[in-house]
């Protein structure tokens, strides 16, 4: 059993000598991708269009002061758990009634997320050409806030918009150096496992609302 027996079989199947050869240089991935228009306004519109095509929602606001009232109206009295992202504090979201925040203990966070109506996070990046939120797990962003509650609200500055996956991987060639978990969220959770009929919110949030600031 174990590493040596599997690796020995692999080497034998490939016809290698017992001593491994040096790692060959990897193939380049750069393709003749047409350069997208990366003006922030264009990216924001494209992001909104793509997220909305997946039944997500997107609002853009100019001023940071507009965010807290907007989130309050979206919550409409329901409960929320906000992440520890500094930007949410700047927006005044952590001060809203019915919003819990500041969790550092896993069990307490899990219990809060399991009963909250909405999870409120920021996003490290957003990908315009697919309507995707990119979140890296950290002390600011927990994994469960964007996962357990039935609704997910993500608030982020416009400057975090990227054109797409290529730009993300150019910027973050080694995501594992930053965090133990990076997740790309593209619209609400969905399934079509029964008769190919689309149902949203099967395990993750059935509603995804993005708020672009600036």
């Amino acid at each position: 059993m174990g590493r040596e027996s599997v690796l020995a079989r692999v080497r034998q199947a490939l016809g290698r000598r017992p001593e491994p050869a040096p790692v060959p240089p990897p193939l380049a991935t750069s393709l003749s991708t047409p350069k997208s228009d990366s003006a922030p306004q264009v990216l924001a519109e494209l992001f909104a269009k793509n997220l909305e095509s997946l039944a997500g929602k997107c609002v853009a606001v100019k001023e940071i002061s507009q965010v807290a009232p907007l989130v309050a109206s979206l919550l409409a009295g329901k409960t929320g758990v906000a992440s520890n992202a500094a930007f949410l504090g700047e927006c005044g979201i952590t001060g809203l009634p019915n919003v819990q925040s500041g969790f550092t203990d896993r069990e307490a966070l899990r219990a809060a997320c399991a009963t909250a109506d909405a999870g409120i996070t920021s996003a490290d990046y957003a990908l315009a050409d697919t309507g995707t939120l990119v979140m890296l797990s950290s002390q600011e962003e927990a994994r469960l806030i964007s996962l357990l509650p039935p609704s997910h609200i993500a608030v982020f500055p416009r400057a975090r918009l990227l054109s797409g996956l290529d730009e993300l991987l150019e910027k973050l060639p080694l995501p594992a150096d930053q965090s133990s978990a990076m997740v790309l969220i593209t619209g609400p959770s969905r399934t079509a496992d029964i008769e190919q009929i689309l149902v949203r919110g099967v395990h993750g949030p059935g509603e995804v609302q993005a708020i672009i600031v600036g």
Partner: protein
């Protein structure tokens, strides 16, 4: 087997279900890779093929790099020869940690080794959490399709299964059935001790595992329990995180026509200091289970490039007629037809490469350009070479000898008029033979010519 195929073909409800589901997936795929939607599609396929070939041809090196990087991030890597070793590892860990409940997200690799059954023998509850897989686990069935495991089940079947197995009131509305599953499974997620997932990619330069899904059950499986175990085939390794720019653009489009699946998780090791949640322990189980047998053949090793998108199933006229359960193993469709005989040998699966019209549709839609028809032909050759020679083969050998030896031919052709042909072929009308053969006529003509010249 034959009677089962006949039953499937004769069942109009099942035929409609298979045809509609695969048809819809097929249309969505072709729309999403069309020249307007993805102009670089062919370039991406070529690149994906090169990357996979490169990774497979250097598999030992990338596996070592992957394992070293997982360990650098605080995870552990366990290499296993077969399913028994995987089950032993999971059981051992569960016992040590006092675990009782496992939540599992969809993984063909664990289906391959019957992991759930092996665990249940030891009173360890292992719950499938993908909606389709959950329905099938309750019904004690195998997946019908690589990406749409329960495509043969109607809402009425699901209502029957839920009522019988969960003791709930009968519910025939699909949305309500889905929400019922959400409630039941949410309880499981919150009390599970271990989460098991598969992997779509193992990223060597990062020591990371990439899992792609739409429901969120894989994210829950790897985020809620304190222990995350990944079980993946050794062929899943790719060189670099940046290569995902190629593979992710192809995978979801080929599978369901989505530009990206809802959730793409990129996880490397247990939670790090400061991170609020995530597992405390992270294990990657790398499974051989016969993959190195495929690797040994330079022509057929491309079978290991497969990224399990299911596009070849939807394109295949045979799969669309006989469905997923008539294939001898959990991998169905054209990809099943090429890998099953290589894993399980010809006595069990030697008929599979012949159950194809060689129309080539599978090869055309494959996002990593596996030459499935070519591999099918190679397998046909091998199956035939391994078989004891049939009487037909012997007869043609005799015929070939006769045709190469004029005297033998002459001798036998003299026997033919005596009814030999007619008795050999009783069901056909053999036209009456000419009274004299060509050779006889020729010889006579030459003789007459010589006689004239002589005179």
């Amino acid at each position: 087997m034959e009677t089962n195929i006949q039953q499937t073909v004769a069942d109009p409800k099942l035929q409609l279900a298979i045809y509609t589901a695969t048809g819809r997936l097929k249309d969505k795929r072709s729309e999403s890779v069309g020249p307007d939607a993805l102009p670089q599609y062919q370039e991406l396929r070529n690149r994906a093929n090169l990357l996979k070939r490169h990774a497979i041809e250097n598999l030992d090196l990338y596996l070592e790099q992957f394992a070293a990087n997982v360990e650098a991030h605080g995870g552990k890597v366990i290499f296993c020869d077969d399913g028994t070793q995987v089950a032993d590892f999971v059981l051992g860990l569960a016992k040590e940690r006092g675990a009782r409940l496992i939540v599992k997200s969809k993984s063909m690799t664990t289906e391959e080794i019957d992991l759930n059954e092996r665990l249940e023998h030891h009173q360890l509850e292992s719950v499938e959490t993908d909606l389709g897989e959950y329905i099938l686990q309750l019904a004690h069935e195998r997946p019908y399709h690589i990406v749409a495991p329960a495509l043969h089940k109607t809402r009425y079947d699901v209502a029957d299964i839920f009522t019988r197995r969960l003791g709930v009131e009968r519910e025939e509305a699909i949305e309500k059935q889905t929400m019922l599953a959400r409630r039941v499974l949410r309880e499981k997620f919150l009390s599970a001790d271990i989460g098991i997932t598969g992997a779509n990619f193992l990223v060597a330069d990062s020591g990371a595992v990439v899992v792609v899904e739409n429901e969120g059950n894989a994210r829950l499986s790897m985020s809620v329990p304190k222990i995350h175990i990944v079980i993946a085939g050794i062929e899943k390794v790719i060189p670099r995180a940046q290569d995902l720019a190629v593979f992710l653009k192809l995978l979801a489009r080929s599978a369901t026509g989505q530009p990206l699946s809802v959730y793409t998780s990129f996880v490397s090791g247990p939670r790090r200091p400061g991170e609020i949640d995530g597992p405390d322990e992270f294990y990657v189980v790398l499974l051989d289970n016969g993959r190195t047998k495929l690797l040994a053949d330079p022509e057929k090793r491309q079978s290991l490039f497969c990224i399990r998108c299911g596009a070849c199933l939807n394109a295949c006229p045979v799969y669309r007629k006989i469905g997923g359960h008539n294939y001898p193993w959990i991998y169905s469709g054209p990809i099943g037809a090429i890998i099953t005989p290589q894993f399980h040998g010809f006595s069990e699966a030697g008929w599979l490469p012949f159950a194809s019209s060689l129309c080539g549709a599978c090869g055309e839609v494959c996002p990593v350009k596996i030459e499935i028809p070519k591999v099918l032909l190679a397998l046909r050759r091998e199956v035939n070479a391994a078989k004891p020679k049939s009487w037909e083969y012997r007869a043609f050998q005799v015929w070939a000898w006769v045709m190469r030896h004029p005297r033998g031919y002459q001798f036998l052709s003299r026997l033919a008029p005596r009814g030999a042909m007619q008795s050999l072929l009783p069901v056909r009308n053999v036209p009456p033979l000419a009274p004299k053969s060509f050779r006889q006529l020729w010889a006579e003509r030459e003789k007459a010519k010589q006689a004239r010249h002589g005179a």
